[in-house]
């Protein structure tokens, strides 16, 4: 049979795209796109408005979409049990974490004082080649359940997943650009990701890595949160990707 050379494309803004730089890399005889700084910038430009429209949906609908992603993963590969479990778990939290962790606060002035959890905006998730797909879905689930949009940077052999992952989220009826996959190397993109003020947080799967510290250093500019997602408990993780807003509302006279 004729051998067809595949190019695995990135998934940005609901479309499968090549790197604007035109660069590709070969992994196991397969060509993979190699994201440039400009690709990061373009992805952020798409993910930012998407974050706003994702948060505007009802929590119930967000939950349904994440659950649908779990269904699609299951229909593609029945052995991905942990991935499916993680997605279903976070799908459930979409309309619950607010009641569980928002609060009405006791204050001594005539105010109704309450705290609610809001999403941060665009979260950049740097995946580690050492982690498996279930871990990736779990981290993404937490970010999405909190109402953020996510740009995932796939590294190492994970780059080969880009097509499948893109198809899963495209088939799950997610609004375009809520979930984006780039394939590349964090070393090259580090300064752009760290200093880009529209990226609200960076999630990092491998905090033992020297790059994690470097990201933290360069991110001080806009007080960006650089979050290690390796050992967090599941619910902690949702809260990590929220901002807490406290409102003082005058009552009575």
């Amino acid at each position: 049979m004729l051998k067809v050379k595949k190019t695995i494309k990135m998934f940005v803004g609901g479309a499968f795209i090549r790197s604007e730089s035109g660069r590709v890399q070969e992994i196991n005889d397969v060509q993979v796109c190699h994201a440039s700084k400009k690709d990061v910038r373009n992805a952020v430009a798409k993910a930012l408005p998407a974050a706003q429209s994702w948060w505007k949906l009802t929590p119930y609908l967000r939950s349904q979409m994440i659950y649908r992603a779990a269904e699609v993963v299951h229909s593609r590969d029945e052995k991905q049990n942990s991935a499916v479990n993680a997605l279903v778990h976070y799908a459930g939290w979409c309309d619950k974490y607010q009641q569980a962790f928002g609060s009405v606060n006791p204050v001594s002035t005539p105010h109704h004082n309450f705290s609610t959890l809001e999403p941060m905006g665009v979260v950049f998730l740097v995946s580690s080649a050492k982690k498996n797909m279930a871990q990736l879905f779990s981290d993404m689930g937490a970010i999405l359940a909190a109402g953020n949009s996510v740009i995932v940077l796939l590294q190492g052999n994970q780059k080969l997943w880009a097509n499948d992952l893109g198809e899963i989220f495209q088939a799950s009826d997610f609004p375009a650009a809520v979930v984006n996959f780039l394939t590349g190397d964090i070393q090259e993109l580090l300064s752009t990701v760290a200093t880009h003020r529209e990226i609200a947080a960076i999630a990092y799967q491998d905090p033992a890595d020297q790059t994690f510290l470097e990201l933290k250093k360069q991110s001080v500019d806009n007080l960006k949160r650089v979050i290690a997602v390796d050992k967090k408990k599941e619910l902690d993780l949702v809260l990590q990707f929220c901002e807490c807003k406290t409102v003082w509302h005058p009552i009575g006279l």
């Binding site: 930012l48 300064s191 200093t195 880009h196 003020r197 529209e198 806009n222």
Partner: protein, 315 residues
């Protein structure tokens, strides 16, 4: 076919027919999107583009407050405290003008009196232009009286497309007289003219009738400004200049939202018309969202970082 036009109170003139090679135009227009403008040249282009913006608000829900706010932004596109804290290599310029509806002209004039920013008003039954000439003239005169230095009029596309060129000419001619000292920009609404040939003819007609600027669109019709239609108009301006030694300005409006696009347009102006036109007196961008992207790119060039939207005023 050439069109013969009777100039009111004067002789007959000819509007030459020129068949435009649509494929060639689009090919050439797209070639301007492939230039690589970097570093100092990019910063220069961004500054120039900011100084060429006609900051526009043309909504039915415009209020005095919104117009005043926009005028503040027109003079100081970035909050001055923020600008000072960034230690930029050069100051961010003011934009060229604000563009508003006639009822808003008074507020804009008041807000801009101590600045060099011009006040442009759309008039003449904007955006359709389908009102009697008498009302168009009254509209224009009122805007000028309230202090507008620039008038953006629309041509009657229905008349143009049905071949009533004389009517279109007469209206532009009369409105030019009504403008007095105010500059006249003539909006062709290229999105409704159907062909490049028509855009070329309408450009020439407007220039003969006294337009100081020709402008692509109202922003209310899609497609608004495109590289192709702008190129046809730039070529018409160039030919008109060769024949008559009279410079006419150009204003693409609508749909130009990114700094990158603005730079493409500047490349096009530079190559079709030359450096003389690279000046806010001769080239403008009708835009609103564009300004924030230009500012963002300037800050990126100067600081190496992308700033988030919260650094820039929305209107």
């Amino acid at each position: 076919m050439d069109i013969r036009i009777q100039v009111p109170g004067g002789s007959k003139i000819t509007i030459p027919y020129c068949a435009v090679d649509a494929v060639g135009i689009e090919e050439r227009a797209s070639s301007f999107t492939k230039r690589s403008i970097k570093k100092e040249s990019k910063l220069e282009a961004l500054h120039l583009a900011i100084s060429m913006v006609d900051l526009t608000t043309l909504e039915g829900m415009d209020t005095e407050g919104k117009v005043r706010q926009m005028c503040g932004k027109a003079v100081h596109p970035i909050n001055m405290t923020v600008e000072r804290s960034l230690n930029l290599s050069r100051a961010i310029p003011s934009v060229a003008a604000v563009c508003v509806y006639p009822n808003m002209v008074g507020y804009a004039v008041e807000a801009l009196q101590e600045s060099a920013v011009q006040v442009a008003s759309v008039a003449s039954g904007f955006p359709a232009g389908l009102v009697p000439l008498k009302i168009k003239l009254a509209d224009v005169k009122a805007a000028v009286q309230m202090g507008a230095n620039e008038i953006d009029m629309v041509i009657d596309r229905g008349a143009f497309l049905s071949g009533q060129y004389q009517k279109v000419f007469d209206e532009i001619f009369a409105i030019k007289q009504a403008c007095g000292k105010a500059h006249l920009k003539v909006i062709l609404e290229t999105g409704e003219l159907q062909t490049y040939d028509s855009i070329r003819t309408a450009s020439w007609l407007a220039m003969e009738a006294g337009a100081d600027f020709i402008k692509t669109s109202t922003g209310k019709v899609s497609p608004a400004a495109t590289m192709g239609s702008t190129l046809v108009m730039l070529q018409a301006i160039d030919d008109y200049y060769q024949y008559n030694q009279k410079m006419v300005g150009m204003k693409p409006a609508g749909g130009i939202r990114e700094a990158k696009q603005a730079i493409h347009y500047l490349c096009m102006v530079r190559e079709v018309l030359g450096e003389k036109w690279l000046d806010p007196d001769w080239f403008r961008f009708g835009a609103s969202a564009l300004l924030n992207d230009l500012l963002r790119q300037v800050l990126k060039q100067e600081t190496g970082r992308y700033f988030d939207q919260s650094y820039f005023a929305l209107d």
